[in-house]
Symmetry: C2
Subunit: 446 residues, 2 copies
């Protein structure tokens, strides 16, 4: 009997948790966002649960109003390095922007995290929506959505050339002869493109997994095409099984159309598990958290997202007519559409929509017992909607501990999830092949 | 009796050590450059010696010929984060370029390392000499020396505004009222300059030491003026006491002329200590290392530095006439002059010059017993040439272990160096004040 297909689980970590109001709970650490020990413990908890990876979002901007909830924190590549030092196996994924970085800088930083962690690094490639970020980088406003994705594609081409600089066996270290590396096995990038000219070789030798796992998290048309070409794992947000299934098969088709094996991309929708020992308890926890949301704050935030004035949103009415279409949005297109569709489909009032978004910013919130959460995961997994999940605990650290201690064992008992790590690298956890170095291995004359 | 003025000691770390040929020793780790455990142990050794700090150089380029010695390694800000996780007190200084970074990115990354380490971070600000680096960043060649320093000055202005974004008490964390931060105490940078427009606030709250210690390491005229305006610690290279004294008093005068307290800048010349239990043993060690240098390799490297053809350098003759003057050098001006002056003053042959440079790339090599090394340090320190030293062990880890175990205790016995850390932050180790936040603290209405 072949064992059932295996789930992949990533823990998406975020200061006091994904619920907007989690910071207001008595147990929450008000300085969690800059507390490295908090994140190191979370990573160790996720590793105890044998999760594939942890993940940090990122945007080079202080977005949002700090009066209303914690914003800001630690730049995630340096945070991952500090976590690498206190973990052994778990994958380490950081977000970084292709719009506001240079490929040489970012390729070497991720390669360094990959070396430091023994091949456990992943890069969530984003194009960074919003004018506020642009204004931190000497621009008047964000480049157009399609331009951002064009630059992202060339950025990835350059990064892959750089990660290809050193062949695996380039370092010969012949002390007697005084030859450290075989220079015929170290290759300059020689990239001359539209956005970038990058001549040299990377200054970091190839890591145990070849190069960091490429993750992607935008679900617009441009985003899906980019994922089909480059991504090895995809984070995404869906409210319904049908949407998730449609996304899953769409992306697999695009991946095949791009000439890649559909098995070389792992799709992980987000889930915000609100876990109680009974269903009632989980619903009470969810309600208590929602009641801590300040409606004015949430309304302002929603208005910004929908590009309308706060006054046009009435808390106990549905969304007004005449909203923009996705085509007109230059920021985060797919998130916009998801939110508008959710409100229209379920005929939610603004107040109800705020509750739904407060929990997971458009991700699927699921309240229930550990058994019910495991069922929800297994259901989508086996219905062709997911290769695994992006676990977004509403409250941290408690929500991750509960997941690891109560949900993971059920998934293990069902044969769906590893009991021990079988690999060392993030690629091995995800079941992804190590990319070959593209240079032919010409045998050296003796 | 007032205790004598205290020395500051920094350990400059570099794969297998500063001697060019150190990698060829039987005990050297051929993969040291990418081995995080190697660097973590070195940092722990330096911390055992109560040193002020460790330091990593950096350039975003694979410079040099990898056939001839180890080049490349780990990007130093992520490396420092991994080291922060396994140390408690020692300062952590990384080099980063103002020419090939954006201020928002770098300010947040250093602020993050500063948070992760509890206020132990320092940034060695460099402008990055050389065309090879420029060609990794879509440029045909390096910007002119003066332009690089102009950009560096504005870069620092922006970084300081960003580090000034959050007042120390900005986070009020009033859970009951639902107010996380006092938004009147978080300030946008609002920088509109020649090279940069940066609008927003930093997304990292202020660290325990206010902001990372600013270190500088270029000694050209532009470099010294930059140091006088911005630097809190300066690494420098001198071969003679007279040169070091002249540099020291020049820089203190410039610092005063820039309106700063001369005590707010600490000057640390480099020293490469080759330590033996007898003077003969130390000289034998130095000779053994020098004999491992491949002269062809070193001649090519020297020719590149001097901008002449390798053939024009004859191993057993002095440097040819007609070399460029410092004015004509757009790369590392002060290093160029130091090397030419050293060769001319001591009438060195190319082979002898290569030996001197192989040990410390222009830094002062000192061979002797632990007692003699301590004397050399004390001598310059008390002759107005230094506030401390940049210790550059020729071989690592052994050279650092010997320094910590045999030289540090002598300096401690002489009352010149701390026996225990008295502070927590790098600023406290260096005796530097925490920079005030420039925004007035308007008392809030009750
Ligand atoms: C789980 C998840 C995490 C994300 N994290 C980030 C992030 O950290 N930074 C960012 O700029 N965008 C992030 N995004 C993507 C944005 O939400 C948005 O979709 C993207 O910036 C634009 O993509 P699109 O217009 O193709 O949808 C994330 C998306 C998902 C689903
Ligand atoms: C101890 C020491 C360390 C240095 N480290 C670096 C470095 O890591 N990266 C770099 O580009 N320059 C570094 N420099 C500076 C260069 O040697 C060179 O002086 C500088 O790039 C240009 O400065 P100048 O032209 O003002 O002398 C260092 C200098 C010293 C003394």
């Amino acid at each position: 009997m072949t064992p059932p297909r295996q789930l992949h689980l990533n823990a998406f970590l975020m200061s006091t948790g994904h619920h907007e109001a989690s910071w207001r709970l008595p147990e929450s650490n008000s300085h969690a966002g800059t507390d490295v020990a908090h994140f190191q413990r979370l990573a160790q908890t996720a590793e105890r649960g044998k999760l594939d990876s942890i993940f940090f979002a990122d945007s080079p901007v202080l977005h949002g109003n700090v009066a209303q909830r914690p914003y800001g924190g630690l730049e995630p590549t340096v945070l991952l390095a500090a976590i690498a030092a206190v973990t052994e196996r778990i994958g380490l994924i950081a977000t970084a922007s292709t719009t506001y970085n240079e490929p040489y800088n970012l390729a070497r930083r991720f390669a360094s995290v990959d070396q430091i962690s023994g091949g456990r690094a992943g890069w969530n490639v984003v194009t960074t929506a919003g004018d506020a970020a642009a204004k931190n980088f000497s621009l008047a406003g964000q480049p157009a959505h399609s331009q951002r994705y064009e630059r992202a594609a060339e950025f990835l081409d350059v990064a892959k050339k750089l990660w290809n600089s050193w062949e695996d066996d380039a370092i010969v270290a012949d002390k007697a002869a005084g030859v450290w590396a075989d220079s015929s096995r170290v290759h300059p990038a020689n990239h001359r493109g539209t956005h970038f000219q990058v001549e040299g070789a990377l200054d970091v030798p190839r890591s145990a997994q070849g190069h960091p796992v490429i993750v992607q998290a935008g679900s617009s048309e441009n985003g899906k095409d980019f994922a089909a070409r480059y991504a090895e794992a995809v984070f995404t947000a869906h409210q319904t099984l049908a949407d998730a299934q449609a996304f899953y098969s769409d992306l697999l088709q695009r991946t095949a159309a791009a000439g890649r094996d559909p098995d070389s991309i792992k799709i992980l929708p987000g889930i915000v598990p609100v876990i109680g020992s009974t269903e009632e308890e989980s619903l009470r926890l969810e309600r208590e958290l929602d009641e801590l949301i300040l409606p004015e704050h949430a309304r302002n935030q929603l208005a910004g997202l929908l590009r309308v004035s706060p006054e046009s949103l009435q808390l106990d009415a549905q969304l007004p007519d005449g909203l923009l279409s996705e085509d007109e949005i230059e920021g985060a297109k797919s998130r916009y559409t998801l939110i508008v569709n959710l409100a229209r489909r379920e005929r939610l009032t603004v107040r109800q929509l705020i509750g739904r978004l407060g929990g997971g910013r458009g991700h699927r919130t699921f309240s229930g017992t550990p058994e019910q959460v495991a069922d929800a995961i297994q259901g989508w997994f086996q219905a062709g909607a997911a290769d695994g999940f992006n676990i977004m605990p509403p409250v941290l650290p408690s929500g991750l501990e509960t997941f690891v201690d109560q949900v993971v064992p059920i998934l293990q008992d069902r044969g769906l999830f590893r009991r021990e790590y079988t690999g060392q690298t993030l690629r091995e956890h995800f079941g992804l092949a190590k990319p070959a170095n593209s240079f032919e291995r010409v045998p050296q004359p003796a």
